[in-house]
Symmetry: D2
Subunit: 418 residues, 4 copies
């Protein structure tokens, strides 16, 4: 068991390592308002510790420039104004080298501050450091999905990492229409949400009862091969399969395949253009595509509570898919049978809107903005992806994105009424 400062240093170091393959030019790009430049992720995660820990608790703390407080504030109104999100890509200063130097200074100050703290102060600092580590891990994932989107804008199709070799598809292709087996669950009054103990975000609390009808959940996520059948069956051309807003998005954005598919056989990945593996989980889908696919398949998306209950009962280590720790940077095909891909691989869209649990209480102060104020218009995703750290996941974890977003590693696990 590593100490909190050890885990802090590890998390902080990993972010720098993930940025290392990128040039200063790469780290400056912002390809859309949803995505941020690498240099911004490096700076904002540092801002987080500076703002919430050093400024209030370290008497020796000073900003390199007081304007950093606004420049790297993401969305905390309680902290003060924020530099415009959509314009992060218009900044070149501070440069990458300057940001990295600031990171080192902040990291040392955090470790020193915690090291010299008495137990009472440690009790205040520890939850902030823990939250900061979780925050850092979220930005590690975003750093990778954001740079993937940015590099994809370049007709040269450059890879984030071109030193890892090609992705090798699984040896045998599945038969068309080959149905994934599913597991049966009885439902009734179940308990969902986080009780306490280990770290949880405020949005996972409190633990509470929920009523479930009997249902079934697929043992495996939907594969590229199966999704290609949906496409070939006119899935992107049939409005009857889509929610009204989904159909509008499909038409306006001219969707005809998952994001990053180049043709029916190749896709752009963090490792450059690669052959699609028909057996690997499909990813980079919007909620609307996931929902339309489910309707086409005669199934539906699980609610987040069905997903959580299922995972609690059946989730085990062997059910994992590709995680950041594996270094593949893309969801790989798992074992040919059994429950799989439940964590890692691709985030799984659920049918649930992102809403507060009964008696939800956000964190006090500006950190209360971390989750609660976004509970509008998003859908919950569960289970993690190939760029999520193993240590970041748990069955109660709630990720959330607007239903038309596609740049995350987001896929599908089907559910059915039983």
């Amino acid at each position: 068991m590593r100490t909190l400062p050890q885990r802090f240093v590890e998390a902080r170091t990993l972010t720098v390592q993930l940025a290392a393959p990128l040039s200063a030019e790469d780290q400056t790009l912002q390809s859309m308002p949803d995505a941020s430049p690498t240099r911004w992720h490096l700076a904002h995660t540092t801002w987080f510790f500076a703002t919430f820990l050093l400024e209030p608790y370290d008497p020796g703390f000073a900003w390199p420039d007081p304007r950093y407080r606004e420049l790297f504030n993401s969305y905390y109104e309680g902290v003060g104004p924020q530099f415009s999100r959509a314009r992060r890509g218009l900044l070149s200063r501070p440069g990458v080298a300057e940001i990295l130097a600031w990171r080192r200074a902040v990291d040392e100050a955090v470790v020193a501050c915690f090291g010299r703290a008495d137990p009472a102060l440690r009790a205040l600092l520890a939850p902030i450091i823990e939250l900061g580590i979780q925050h850092e891990q979220q930005h590690q994932e975003l750093l990778l999905t954001d740079i993937k989107h940015a590099l994809f804008q370049n007709p040269l199709q450059p890879a984030y990492r071109d030193d890892l070799g090609d992705i090798v598809p699984a040896p045998t292709a599945p038969s068309p229409g080959d149905e994934t087996p599913s597991l049966n669950l009885a439902g009734g009054r179940v308990t969902v949400g986080a009780a306490g103990g280990e770290f949880h975000f405020d949005n996972e609390r409190p633990e509470h009862p929920h009523w479930l009808h009997p249902f079934r959940v697929a043992a495996a996520p939907v594969s590229n091969g199966r999704y290609r059948e949906f496409i070939e069956d006119g899935g992107y051309l049939r409005p009857d399969l889509w929610l009204s807003d989904g159909w509008a998005a499909c038409r306006e954005q001219a969707w005809s395949a998952p994001l990053y598919w180049i043709d029916g056989a190749h896709a752009f990945t963090l490792r450059g253009v690669q052959r699609l593996d028909p057996q690997a989980p499909v990813c980079h889908l919007s909620f609307f595509e996931a929902d339309a696919f489910a309707r086409w398949a005669g199934a539906r998306l699980p609610t987040e509570f069905e997903w959580e209950h299922f995972a609690c009962l059946h989730g085990h280590e062997a059910a994992a898919g590709t995680l950041l720790d594996d270094g593949a940077l893309h969801p790989l095909a798992g074992e040919a049978s059994g429950l799989r891909g439940l964590w890692g691989g691709a985030w799984e869209w659920t049918a649930s809107d992102y809403a507060p649990y009964p008696r939800f209480r956000p964190l006090p102060g500006a950190l209360g903005e971390y989750n609660g104020k976004f509970m509008s218009g998003a859908r919950v995703l569960r289970g993690g992806s190939c760029v999520t750290s193993h240590s970041h996941l748990r069955w109660t974890y709630r990720n959330f994105f607007a239903p038309e977003k596609r740049w995350q590693f987001s896929g599908i696990r089907l559910a059915m009424d039983a």
Copy 2:
């Protein structure tokens, strides 16, 4: 008890009566994509019976012009293409007189078709006519809210009806901060949704169990006076009270009061500019404003299931607010005490997103698009408004709008954890 044809004729007649105070020029206006011209409502409701009843079941049926099939199709992909929603205000032909003549012809054909039908055919026609009446009633409400929005664009501030006299505020103003009493509910496993019997939309079905925590619900809706306190306390200036998307909408659209408020003492109504009654229910709020108000008041919005359970237990005739049948065309202050305003007055925003009930099945065919495909991005409202017909409402009724919309008569009833 009136017969189905009688109720059909009554509903159809009421629409024409509601349009009667409006000139041909008025009936041509479309002030935003969400709203439709009066002439379009008159034609579309007629299109509904032509498309779903006469075309399939009346051998003598013919369209006045075959292009009407597309021109007055609102959103039914299963019927075929639709004339652009945002461009309905660019049409002047067919004119109002022509549309009214078509209405009469269709009404006669529907009555005749039903009249000569054998019992087997009647069993097919009756549910279509019943759905068509409900559909007509929904468009009666929209006709009024749409023309209110259109007339408001005119600096001359013309009234829809200027022959009804002024709205007289209630004699005594409430004390500031005067808290509305609330009722306690125990929660637990409750049953929600429609079991069958009377008419229900598909989105109200099936009846199903739901788990509720103990909660409280206010006996009365939030009043103009109480809402003015929120404004005066900086409610529109404090981001901490708002959801993130709500704050963005508030800034972009420069909200500083409910829609139609002209100053703190007057508002534009269907009866022209009128003095605000501090005791009458506040209305024309977005979900975001309702949510921010609730947070400011130390309360929250009820879920739609809390609302329904509450209404089932406590709703009674005396709890009604202003309805279309009353002819006031604006929510009036009710009795000074007791449970009130539960139906009519203003629709009450709930915290619930508009989602399918467990095992929801849409109607077969194109009518399956009536509700199901809109289950994305909207919030449920309950209870009806001052422009809803009494016969249109029931406790299981689910209305829904996007959270930033304000042109409906939409208000607030607070809930709290018990």
Copy 3:
């Protein structure tokens, strides 16, 4: 020779006659910000006399509603604020009947005011009435081009006038590539602009010398048949033929033929859908299309000074094309030979930007905004169209529109270096 009051009454009456075939619904439509509703044209031309003549010079004058002053102000900052141009179609009040009554009252007041004026006052009033007649004539043309655009939005393709019979194409089609003969002009130091005497807008003054190179001008405007050759030769697909801004407009707006062409053989007209006459002048072209056509044809557009010099030397009554007085409401094919279509038919785009003449002085006061402030970004058109009154035209007349506009009757006459 008619008196000024006679001409005033005739002009005012013609506007009402032009609106007469339109229903109240028709008169309410605004299909784009450039176009205005018929009811607005009726009111604004009345506002013009109320603002510039009655208010300052008629002691008994009163507005029906003081808000009309703002409501029907088109763009005169010197008069005060203006109701938003793009929102004119959102108004239904005052209705058509009310506006017509106001017109009659204003017309009577103007005639009475002039009638009782002493010579000194008459000297002040006469130029305002004259300008108002010219203004009225401009709005008569706009009333027709605006309603044509509005009716075209309707899939029912309703005609402004369906009682005039079909347009009959000229009996013999021209041979492909058949070159129109052209006339030679020596150029040198010529005089252009208006010297005074008859009415002229301020933008036609002062008369001034201009240097012209030797040039040639086509005897006839470009025909539909010739323009179709341009289309068939890929004219809309070859960027080398287009100005850069023109090519961008062509791509963005997906131009592939003149506005209102339905296919290569039919076009929407004020008389409904009609067969295209290959020998009639092509119209409803943007400047960019006219310019691209000229480049394709190995020619160029004339400058406005070449056009004016040419017209001064060669223009005669027989050179006229279709005018409003003819009642055809569409440019018809003229004589098979000789100089033709020089006035009427379609406005002819020139290469000249709309700029002030040397020593240009706008009218004093708010009327100085009539022309001068629009001298930015527009191109000059010369010669009049099929919806211009004969009495409105003269060789020095400068019309102007932004280069991408197509809803006017605008066409091409080619020029060449000699």
Copy 4:
């Protein structure tokens, strides 16, 4: 006199020197579609020689990547498709180091190709190299104005060069309203345009006669101090001073001072925030502001022919303002009296739209797109700026920008009717 290869190498080297103070992050920024990243300027100017000289004339030429041909094509439809202008800032590869290496390779290849060419080939190559040098110089100016705009987006207000010391205002401030003396010109038939001989762009040809009225031109450009009087007199608040499109731009973009003014006393410059010198030429004005100022001052802008005729008669070396060669990177106050600032300092907006001269012929082939296709919607500027090279200017030189653009060093010299 330097040889053509010498001048080529000098021009190419200067571009690299101008980019040298910028980090790789800086060189990646694109702050608006009008502006391009530094790295793109470095690559595009190289592309120019690769496309128009090496590809056709150097048998050994090969692209580093064939996709460069599209990636760095600015707007030449005749060469082929172009990567989207507005998205140049979304590219990080090839990186700056890679682009610089490519520059070196192309430079060597051009020199070698010319060196080994026989006289016939040299006669073909020389005009391309000459045009390429002129093109390079234009992009040197753009590189500086574009990075100025990009750095200005950063709240840290970083300087392009912070090693040049502060700009020292001239010692004595001018008296308010102090009128600049002006020179009288008789006009009549004058000759304008380029006759041949020295290098000229195609848009400067042919030389031709033009008729001028008598006029006066101010001896000095408008100063910051004088422009401040315009502001203080409500210049940005009075619609009567503005063209209609200008007033719309002023309102929409909330102009209240020249671009880069921070307050009435400071401005952002390439040397960071500096005090405004009241006697230095005002710059970073749109045409609309220049035109409004002139109207306020009771004067007007000169036409480009007035400007050229004036410069031909009176221009001399001593009339120069700040040039790129001076290294100041900002227009400085000149001598206190006499004709000054005629070249360099700030480009001077003229009243003339950018139009082809009579009998204008663009260059053959794709190079014909260099100038001609932009002759729509722009106004001509004359005289050069503080970031134009001395060797790049001549009295017939025509620069042009859309009238609302402000990011160039653009200012005002007044003219009057005589």
